[in-house]
């Protein structure tokens, strides 16, 4: 058992909620699912992964999709088919935005009639289906609800892609602000008293002209309905916020080591620190193999490039003796191309190593997952990825990890990885 494995085991033992965050397009959803599957398989307990918008293949691999908010258990047979005897249970659920909003309204509306009025209001339908900042809140709210219900030992939640990483962290606070804002009061006061309210007059002058008074009336009606839920919403948002700050909650930051996502991840990390939120794990996904920054391999590549012309005839003769006639010029070109390609990828691997060093502080638990062509198509591939996070598999260390000076360990051993033979 490696040190990284035990660090993760300690983290999972201490936490009940893992919130995956990070830039778009880095494999956040898949990583969250892989970690949940890894915990269920190897550490045990009842684990739920809550995904927001999984790729169809991932949804199929987890057996969710078209189920709304209902959680389903990934059957043990699926684990056994992947030759893993699970120690715990893996459950998966998708986050259905509009269903979650509707549930929230039903919970907080003072009575059935008000709930119906709100649910059928066109403005409400717009917000619950299209308002993306609302999605950040609803994801956190659903997480809170699941945690309250207490059916699971560990909740791993994937977060919706946001315009801004901070939106997610600040969503509960913003929900509280919404209900105490001056504007909500302006819009919901009776029309006549608007005319005497000096502060709100410029707003109405503009809004009436630009939007028309009908829309304003619709908004007022809607906000008046919303206010009936005020106390429940505010209390709830405060509780959601407390859960995010709770000692039992940790954040998982997923990124790749490319320039743009790397920059976003660094901002996200700073935002977590600023809010005193716990970063339990930094996962760098799709990292190139370590051998690319090995000086010996670089020398070998240089030597190949120099000797490509010299090698051609010998190798061609050797292939010809095996019945494969090939011009020595073709062989030389292949050798040259191999050396050239190595140099190209080495450049990228070096850049990744540098970025990781900048991103990961000494006390961070950092995991790198090697680049793997192909996709997560079933539980087996998800478990393989989970094993990489936990370092169970004999695997070459990706380049970036060794180069970085921070505290991280990994499963050593094994020869050069045969990169994802198709």
């Amino acid at each position: 058992v490696t040190r990284r494995h035990s660090e993760l085991e300690q983290l999972v033992a201490a936490k009940e909620v893992i919130v995956a965050c990070g830039p778009g397009g880095v494999g956040k959803t898949t990583t969250a699912a892989a970690i949940a599957a890894g915990v269920a398989a190897h550490l045990g307990g009842k684990v739920l992964v809550l995904t927001v918008d999984p790729a169809r293949r991932l949804a199929d691999a987890l057996g969710v999709g078209g189920l709304g908010n209902r959680a389903t258990r990934v059957p043990d047979e699926a684990f056994l088919a992947a030759r893993v005897r699970p120690k715990g249970e893996l459950h998966a659920a998708m986050l259905d935005m509009s269903e979650s909003w509707d549930a929230l309204v039903r919970r907080h509306a003072p009575d059935e009639a008000t709930a119906r009025q709100i649910l059928s209001n066109p403005l409400y339908q717009n917000i619950s289906r299209r308002f993306s900042q609302g999605h950040d809140y609803i994801a956190m709210e659903r997480l809170f609800e699941l945690h309250e219900e207490g059916d699971y030992d560990l909740l791993v939640v994937d977060t919706p892609p946001s315009r801004n990483a901070l939106d997610l962290l600040d969503a509960p606070a913003r929900m509280q602000e919404f209900f105490s804002s001056r504007l909500l009061r302006w819009v919901t006061v009776p029309y006549r008293s608007r005319l005497v309210n000096m502060a709100s007059r410029p707003f109405y002058q503009v809004a009436d002209r630009v939007l028309g008074s009908q829309l304003l009336q619709d908004l007022a009606d809607f906000f008046i309905l919303l206010q009936t839920m005020r106390d429940g919403f505010v209390a709830r948002a405060a509780a959601v916020d407390r859960l995010l700050r709770d000692a039992r909650t940790t954040f998982l930051l997923v990124t790749t080591l490319e320039a743009v996502p790397g920059r976003e991840a660094a901002e996200m990390k700073a935002a977590l620190a600023e809010r005193r939120l716990h970063l339990g794990l930094l996962v760098c996904n799709k990292v190139l193999p370590e051998s690319l920054i090995d000086p010996g391999a670089a020398r070998a590549a240089d030597r190949l490039a120099e000797a490509s012309a010299q090698l051609g005839p010998g190798i061609a003769a050797r292939l010809a003796s095996g019945g494969d006639e090939v011009a020595s010029a073709v062989v030389s070109r292949v050798v040259e191309e191999v050396a050239h390609s190595f140099a190209n990828f080495r450049l990228v691997a070096n850049r990744e190593a540098e970025l990781l060093r900048e991103l990961s502080a000494a006390h961070d638990v950092t995991v790198t997952i090697p680049y793997q062509p192909g996709h997560v198509t079933d539980l087996a591939s998800l478990l393989t990825m989970g094993s990489r996070v936990f370092g169970d598999e004999a695997e070459e260390e990706p380049a970036a990890r060794r180069a970085s000076g921070s505290r991280r360990t990994g499963a050593r051993g094994g020869g050069p990885r045969r990169a994802g033979a198709p």
């Binding site: 830039p23 778009g24 397009g25 880095v26 790729a55 066109p122 403005l123 717009n126 917000i127 299209r130 308002f131 993306s132 892609p161 315009r163 804002s181 504007l183 502060a199 709100s200 410029p202 707003f203 503009v206 809004a207 009436d208 002209r209 630009v210 939007l211 028309g212 829309l215 906000f223 320039a259 743009v260 920059r263 193999p289 051998s291 690319l292 090995d294 010996g296 391999a297 020398r299 070998a300 190949l304 000797a307 090698l311 010998g314 190798i315 292939l319 090939v326 073709v330 070109r333 191999v338 390609s341 990828f345 080495r346 450049l347 990228v348 062509p373 020869g415 050069p416 045969r418 198709p422």
Partner: protein, 316 residues
């Protein structure tokens, strides 16, 4: 893709992380180099455009990058202020701060308002002919449909008022394929391609904007032809590798690492090629597909944007 720059308004969109900003910035630079007065506008003001052009902040009022190239970031509050002043002629100047934040709040509850301020500003620049071409670094897949469809949707929501009366000229600009086009950026990977194909369908079904072309970004070069690949596979045989290592007096493991790196390159490329096939099938034969090769060198900043612009120029 003849005539891409004969249009006046291009929306560059795609899944987050595929290089939308890079493609938009490169298209803008290229158009400016071809003599067009060009505006590039970043809709999500995250500062990516200022990084792309190495040019410092890009405010709403615009920042000159080169003689013919201007960069700006969208700001719906500033857009509202400009709109009130120029079009609605509403005499609200001093108190705009709290009013705008109040307005922003209403816009949150009544979707379409914020979007119309974004799209409206862009269409306005086109209508007033301040520029020959406006290139938009638009929102990602999730939000762009809402933005482009806003002028249609707003009619359902706002029954009277100035906003509604303004939508018809916007729609005229957005609907005309000779004037406005969408450019979908993607990479040869699973999710980006799936989203690109999905987006192409939704653009035509739900928005007034026509798809102009698709740009596949970060396409790896093909290392070997068929014959060469057979030779390469033979080189991976342990016996032959041993001989080569001996002849060059190289460590076998080091040589193995070099060959495995090439194998990884071949595998990634092959994986990408299958996604590109899926992309081609998904968007149909008639939509132009441009390729931008993977840049192994520096991956961002003006130098990289110039390189991408040059490569796109060759494709166009």
């Amino acid at each position: 893709v003849t005539g891409l720059f004969d249009r006046r308004l291009l929306f560059v969109t795609g899944k987050g992380g595929v290089g939308k900003t890079t493609v938009a910035a490169a298209l803008g630079l290229l158009a400016a180099e071809q003599g067009k007065r060009t505006l590039v506008c970043e809709v999500e003001p995250k500062g990516d455009l200022s990084v792309a052009y190495d040019c410092g902040p890009t405010p709403f009022r615009g920042r000159a990058v080169t003689e013919r190239l201007t960069a700006m970031s969208m700001d719906t509050e500033a857009s509202l202020r400009e709109y009130l002043r120029l079009i609605a002629r509403v005499p609200v100047v001093g108190r705009i701060g709290p009013v705008a934040s109040a307005f922003d709040f209403v816009a949150t509850a009544a979707p379409g308002i914020r979007e119309i301020l974004t799209v409206g500003k862009l269409c306005y620049e086109v209508r007033e002919r301040h520029y020959d071409l406006v290139v938009v670094d638009a929102s990602a897949t999730g939000q762009v449909i809402g933005q482009l469809a806003a002028p249609i949707g707003i009619n359902e929501l706002v029954r009277v008022g100035i906003v509604r009366s303004q939508t018809s000229w916007m729609l005229e600009i957005l609907r005309d394929p000779a004037v406005t086009g969408a450019v979908i950026a993607t990479t040869p990977e699973e999710m980006p391609v799936t989203e690109a194909v999905d987006l192409a369908g939704r653009l035509s079904a739900e928005t007034p904007v026509n798809l102009a072309c698709v740009v596949a970004n970060r396409v790896l070069p093909e290392l070997f032809g068929n014959r060469e690949e057979q030779v390469f596979e033979a080189l991976l045989e342990p016996a032959l590798m041993k001989e080569v290592a001996a002849e060059l007096r190289l460590d076998e493991a080091a040589l193995g690492a070099v060959l495995q790196a090439a194998r990884l390159a071949v595998t990634i490329r092959r994986d990408g090629a299958s996604h590109l096939e899926r992309l081609r099938e998904g968007i149909g034969e008639q939509v132009p597909l441009l390729y931008v090769p993977y840049l192994f060198g520096r991956a961002h900043g003006l130098r990289a944007i110039r390189q991408v612009a040059r490569l796109l120029g060759e494709e166009l």
